[in-house]
C-alpha cells in the first residue's frame, strides 16, 4: 500500500467515522473500499467519511464513495462526507456529486445529521 495514504476508524455517538488522509487514487482506493464494505456488511447502514486529511482524490476515489453510498442507501442508511478543502470539493462539483452526497464541513456536524 502506498505510504501516502492512511485510514483510521472511530465511533462517535454510535456512528462509525472513517477518516482517510493522504492521496486516494487507483493504487490506494482498495483498502478504503474494503473498509467501507466491511462496515456495511457488519450492519452499519450509515458511515461518516471524513476526507479532511485528504490532499488528493480522483475519479477512482469518487467511484469507491459512490459504491459505498449505494450500499448504505440500500440498507436505508447514508454516507455523509466531511470536506472543507475547495480543491477536493471541486472534483465532486464537476462530476455532479455535490447533489448526490450529503456534505458537511466538520465531523461533528456530519455525525449530528445522523438521526
Amino acid at each position: 500500500m502506498d505510504q501516502s495514504f492512511k485510514i483510521e476508524e472511530v465511533e462517535m455517538d454510535g456512528v462509525p467515522v472513517v477518516s482517510a488522509s493522504g492521496e486516494i487514487d487507483v493504487a490506494t482506493a482498495p483498502p478504503l473500499r474494503d473498509r467501507l464494505q466491511a462496515l456495511t456488511t457488519s450492519g452499519k447502514s450509515t458511515v461518516v467519511v471524513d476526507l479532511l486529511g485528504v490532499t488528493f482524490l480522483d475519479s477512482t476515489a469518487l467511484g469507491v464513495l459512490v459504491g459505498a453510498l449505494k450500499r448504505c442507501r440500500e440498507a436505508e442508511g447514508d454516507l455523509p462526507l466531511v470536506i472543507r478543502e475547495p480543491r477536493i470539493l471541486k472534483v465532486f462539483e464537476i462530476t455532479g456529486l455535490t447533489g448526490v452526497f450529503p456534505i458537511y464541513e466538520s465531523v461533528r456536524e456530519a455525525v449530528g445529521s445522523v438521526k
Partner: protein
C-alpha cells in the same frame, strides 16, 4: 500489471523560475502501474510556480489519463509534458487501440468519471491513433 523495471526519466530542460508563468519544459516518463504517483509529482513540480488551481487541475487530469493507460491501456504508458508560457500539454501514450470514451455523468455508476473530469477542466483534449499506439492528451491554458 506491475513490472519491476524502474521507470525511465528524461528531462531535456530545467524549469525557469518565473512566478505565475509556465516554464518551457519537456518531460518524458515511461512507466507502469507503480508510476502513477510519480507522474502526478512530475507535473506538479513542473508547475510549482503557477497558480494553484491551474496546477491542481493539471495534476488531476494527468492522473486520470495515466490511470486509464494503466487500467484500460495495458499497464504501460509514456507520459510527455510540454509546458510553454501560458499553456500546458500532457500526452499519455499506451499500446491499446481502443479509445477513451466520454461517458455521461451519473450519480449511480461507480466508474466512468475520469474522462468527464478531463472534459470539464481541459481547454481541449483528444485522442490520436497511430498504428496500434494511441495518444490521449489534454491542454490547459493559463488564461481561461
Amino acid at each position: 500489471m506491475k513490472t519491476t523495471a524502474a521507470p525511465a526519466r528524461e528531462r531535456s530542460a530545467r524549469p525557469h523560475k518565473t512566478a505565475g508563468r509556465l516554464p518551457r519544459r519537456r518531460i518524458r516518463l515511461a512507466g507502469d502501474a507503480t508510476s502513477l504517483r510519480e507522474a502526478r509529482l512530475l507535473v506538479g513540480e513542473t508547475l510549482v510556480n503557477c497558480p494553484s488551481d491551474f496546477r491542481d487541475a493539471a495534476v488531476l487530469l494527468t492522473g486520470e489519463l495515466v490511470t486509464n493507460a494503466v487500467v484500460h491501456g495495458g499497464g504501460w504508458f509514456l507520459l510527455q509534458v510540454d509546458a510553454s508560457p501560458g499553456r500546458l500539454r500532457v500526452e499519455v501514450t499506451d499500446a491499446i487501440a481502443l479509445q477513451p470514451r466520454l461517458l455521461a455523468l451519473s450519480g449511480d455508476r461507480e466508474h466512468g468519471r475520469g474522462m468527464a473530469i478531463v472534459d470539464a477542466l481541459a481547454t481541449r483534449w483528444g485522442a490520436e491513433h497511430i498504428g496500434s499506439r494511441k495518444v490521449v492528451w489534454f491542454e490547459i491554458c493559463l488564461e481561461r
